[in-house]
Every structure is written in C-alpha cells, then in structure tokens.
C-alpha cells in the first residue's frame, strides 16, 4: 500500500484547503478513500453522529500535480483511511504561501499521512514544515460500509435558494429552535419553518426551479403524477443544516436538495471539481 501526492500550484492548494475546511465543518472523523483517479471523503450513517451521511468526491487531477497510489491488492486498487479532517485542514493552513505541499502515507510507528510543506526561505535550502497526521487503515472486509449512497426515491427535488440568504435565515432560526422543517413542492417553492412555544417563523422562497431528473428509474413519471403544489416536508436537526451551509465558502455551481417526506433530505452541492452529497435524516 503506497500513496504519494504533490501540489505545487497555489490556486489548487487554496482550493483543496477550502474543501478540507468544508469537510471539517461536517465531520469530526471521516473516511478518506483513495483510488487511481479520485479522492472521496465519506461519512457513513451511524447513529453516533445523528444519522447524517456524507459523500464528497474530488478528481485528483484537478488538485494534484503528482499523484501515485498503490492499493491493498492489484484487483482492489484502493486505500481506505480513517482520519480527523481537522488535522489535515490545520496542516494545510500553514501552507498558504508554500512553494509545494507533499502528502505521503507512511508507517514509521503507526500509519500517518505525512504532510510536508515547503516554505519559501531566504537561504538556498528550503524550510520544510512536516505534519504527521495519524490515520487508521480500514481493512478490506469493512469496505462495504462505505459504498456510495443511492439517491433516495424522493418526493420533490428542488434547487436551493441563494446560499447566503439561506445561511442567514438558518443561523437566526438556530437561535430560536433546535429543529427546522424544510418543505418544498414541484412549483419551485420552498419554506423553512420553526415553531416553538415562544415564536414561529416561516421563510418563503419562490421561483427556485425544480431540476429535471432523467426518467431511467421512473423518477420523472412518479414526479409527474404528483400534485405540483403539494409540499414534501421533513423536520431535521437545525445544527446539521447550519453546519452544511456554514461550510460553503464559495457559491456552488449547482445546489439542490431532494426531499423524501418525513424520511430524509438529500443535499447535492456541485462545484467545478468537487461534488458533495449530504444526507440529513428526518427526526421523529
């Protein structure tokens, strides 16, 4: 099992750093899956973290100037590591003006991701700051736990409103309530609602648009049968939603959510080279 990668381009480095910031906001610990062409940050839906799950996919070619990996076996050319994303995020923060960043999987005393940041220096020899981030190697027999979640058989799919507005509203609502109801219909309308003994607040978004899903699995036909005005709704933990929105520092190219009434809300946030899926289960 080997892994080594290098980033030289400053823009790519900043981009990767931002991705790590986002992941850090969403998970204390997560799984990093490395394949030949992609990196994945995965959180599978365990009760321990409120049943949320995350699937974040990056094309390595868009970030790394060099990327080599050798999986556990020839027919399973992948590596699964358990890591604390904040450690990686912090290491990258020291690399803001770096000449190069190298990441390597090592096993001196225990498995680690060694992040070596080459910083500019006045003398001829470079300054190198090294961070050793402990990781857990996940054995092959557990890999099935980390499969890509399937898109739920949702009732409504809708584009999200301007994230900045949604972020402000959810942040204020978080001061007032622990849970939030998110509802939407196929006429491009979405409402965010909170209700407590003291106060009830509803924010109405209109003209959001509903993404067209290909009718391979018959989604479109079941969606067509649905009354356009009828709302699909789910009550979710407001902190989870706030963390998802707070982690979006740059506006995504596409942002949408799929609601399966009273069961789950599936968020999809697409940037040029990163796709993030986040599943928040509905509360009882």
């Amino acid at each position: 099992m080997r892994f080594g990668a290098k980033i030289v381009d400053l823009a790519c480095l900043n981009h990767f750093s931002r991705v790590m910031s986002t992941i850090t906001k969403l998970a204390k610990t997560c799984t990093l899956r490395l394949t030949d062409g992609k990196l994945y940050f995965i959180l599978s839906d365990k009760v321990a973290h409120g049943g949320v799950s995350m699937w974040c996919e990056l094309c390595q070619g868009n970030f790394f100037d060099e990327f080599q990996m050798e999986g556990v076996a020839a027919d399973h050319n992948e590596i699964y590591l358990e890591l604390v994303p904040e450690n990686l995020s912090r290491a990258l923060k020291t690399a803001q003006s770096a000449k190069a960043v190298k990441i390597k999987l090592t096993n001196k005393h225990c498995p680690c991701l060694r992040v070596a940041v080459e910083l500019p220096s006045l003398s001829s020899s470079s300054r190198i700051v090294t961070h050793d981030i402990p990781v857990g190697v996940i054995p092959r027999r557990l890999w099935n736990d980390f499969r890509e979640p399937s898109v739920p058989d949702f009732d409504v799919s809708i584009y999200l409103p301007v994230l900045k507005t949604m972020k402000s509203v959810v942040e204020r609502m978080k001061n007032l309530s622990n849970t939030i109801v998110i509802e939407a219909n196929l006429s491009g309308e979405m409402n965010l609602k909170i209700e407590t003994d003291l106060v009830s607040v509803t924010t109405h978004f209109k003209d959001l648009g509903n993404p067209p899903w290909a009718s391979e699995d018959g989604y479109q036909s079941s969606a067509q049968a649905r009354d356009l005005e009828s709302m699909a709704e789910a009550r979710i933990d407001i902190k989870k939603l706030q963390q998802l929105l707070a982690g979006q520092q740059v506006n995504p190219t596409k942002a949408l959510c799929n609601i399966l009434s009273k069961r789950i809300v599936h968020f999809i946030l697409l940037h040029e080279d990163v796709s993030l899926q986040y599943f928040i289960p509905a509360l009882a």
Partner: protein, 281 residues
C-alpha cells in the same frame, strides 16, 4: 417596498400596524437597549417606545417616533405588551445584520391586541419571512420621575469623546463615579479597580463639550455592570446629554442619527449606588 398585511380575520382591526422600508431603523435602536431578554413595548400615535429594565435600578428606553415609519397606526389611545426582545431582534434581523448597500429588509408589523402574538412580515430580495411572536402581560415599569425642572447638572458631549472611555472602562471596579461641578474638575469619570483608580477629566471648554450647565458639585457612584450596556447606545450616537437630579439619579440621553439621517433617541436612567456620601471623594 411596503407589504400589504393579510386581511384581518372577523373584521377585527389591528390595534397596532406599522410599515418600515428599512427594518434596520428599528433593529439597530433595539440593540442599543438589549441587555435583558424581555422588553415592554408601548405604542401611541406618537410612535413606539421600547423599555428594558434590570435590578430595579436601571431603565433603558428606545424611542422610534411615528415619522420614522412609512405607516404607523394605533387604534387605541395606547397599546402595551411585553415581549422577548432577543427573539424580536432575531426575527428583525432574519436576513442578516450586514448592511450591504442597496439591500434593505422591508418590515410590516401587526398586533391584534391583548393576548395576540406580534406579527412581523419581513421581505428582502423577493424572499418573505413571517414571524409570530407571543406577547405577555406588560410589567409595571419604574418611574424615575426625571423632569427638566429637577435637573441639577447637565452637560452635552459629542459621543466620540466618550466612546473610547466607555469601551475601556475598568470592569474590575464595582462602580463608575461621575463628578459634575461648576469648578474643576468640571466633568470627571472615575473607576476604582484591582489595579488602582483611574480618572478621566473633560474640561468645560473642550471642543467636545457642546453645553455645560453645572450648578452644584455632585459626585455620584453607579454600579458599573448596570451602566456598561449603555456603551451600545453610545456607539450609535452622535451626541449624549448627561443629567443628574438632587437625589443623584442619572439620565443619559443619546441622539442617534439613522442611515437616512433621521434622529431617534435612546435614554438610560440609573439609580445611584446607595452606600456613598459626598464626603468620600
């Protein structure tokens, strides 16, 4: 852009209805008196007064006169209710507190009367938020009985002169001592903290002094923890008037100019700290 309120049910008119093109004209003033969760709202045809009290010794009032609103109608002689100010502020600032040029939140406020919630309709960029905040029985408020005939000493200062002083008050001191006198030191702020005492003097001929009417030397102490929240009002204001009466009650009146140049007032009243006599300087 003003919103139209939904038609009242069963023909009952709203006892209070108001529209404001820029909700910040209200929220920024309310923040200047937000040192407790609860506030009493008092509305008459003249406008809205929001009162916050603490420890039975300090009272802050924010006045938003009817002219500030695009529409302000009160059906009865006066309308009073108690409301959670923290919740009210969260609702008024639902779209964020950032003051980006060109983006304002429009507000419509409606209240049906005793026992009904306060309804807020807020709109920004085509997005509408509706809030329903429960109201409670109004509290009995303190009456400081502070009128201009009883004022012993009065000065008016430009706020910029006091801002730094108030922001850097030695909070290890239990009291803020205010001396006002026709003779030196004229106007002095003192604290007595762990590191020692600090005195800040403002001469009567200072540029910052807009008016100086002191008839008697008075030294009064006030609990610093009670006065510290007034820093918020000071930060927003351009001028402050400081007055004391014969009992040492303090009135601070802040003149605040909003984004559109309109003037509003916030005042703080504070009782003197009991265990002090004038001899102890």
């Amino acid at each position: 852009m003003p919103l139209s309120a939904p038609p009242p049910a069963s023909g009952q008119p709203y006892v209070l209805s108001a529209s404001l093109d820029n909700a910040r004209h209200l929220s920024s003033l309310l923040r200047a008196v937000h040192f407790q969760d609860h506030a009493t709202c008092f509305a008459t045809a003249n406008g809205l007064r929001v009162t916050v009290e603490d420890a039975k010794c300090i009272q802050a009032n924010a006045f938003i006169q009817a002219e500030i609103f695009q529409e302000f109608a009160v059906q009865e002689e006066s309308v009073t209710f108690r409301i959670n100010l923290s919740v009210l502020l969260d609702c008024l600032t639902i779209f964020g507190t950032g003051s980006l040029p060109g983006t304002t939140t429009a507000l419509r406020m409606c209240y049906r009367g005793y026992g009904y919630p306060l309804m807020l309709f807020l709109e920004e960029g085509g997005v509408v938020t509706v809030c329903k905040i429960n109201t409670q029985e109004p509290d009995e408020l303190l009456d400081f009985d502070f009128c201009s005939t009883k004022v012993v000493n009065k000065i008016i200062l430009q706020s910029e002169g006091l801002r730094e002083a108030f922001a850097e008050l030695d909070m290890t001191s239990e009291v803020l001592q205010i001396t006002m006198s026709p003779d030196k030191p004229y106007f002095r702020l003192s604290t007595f903290g762990n590191a020692g005492s600090a005195h800040l003097d403002y001469p009567r001929d200072s540029d910052l002094m807009e008016a100086f009417h002191c008839n008697q030397t008075q030294t009064n102490r006030y609990k610093i923890s009670l006065l510290k929240p007034s820093t918020k009002a000071l930060a927003l204001s351009c001028k402050v008037s400081i007055r004391t009466d014969a009992q040492g009650f303090l009135s601070l009146q802040y003149m605040i100019r909003n984004e559109d140049g309109q003037i509003c007032f916030v005042e703080y009243y504070c009782c003197p700290d009991e265990d002090i006599t004038e001899g102890e300087l």
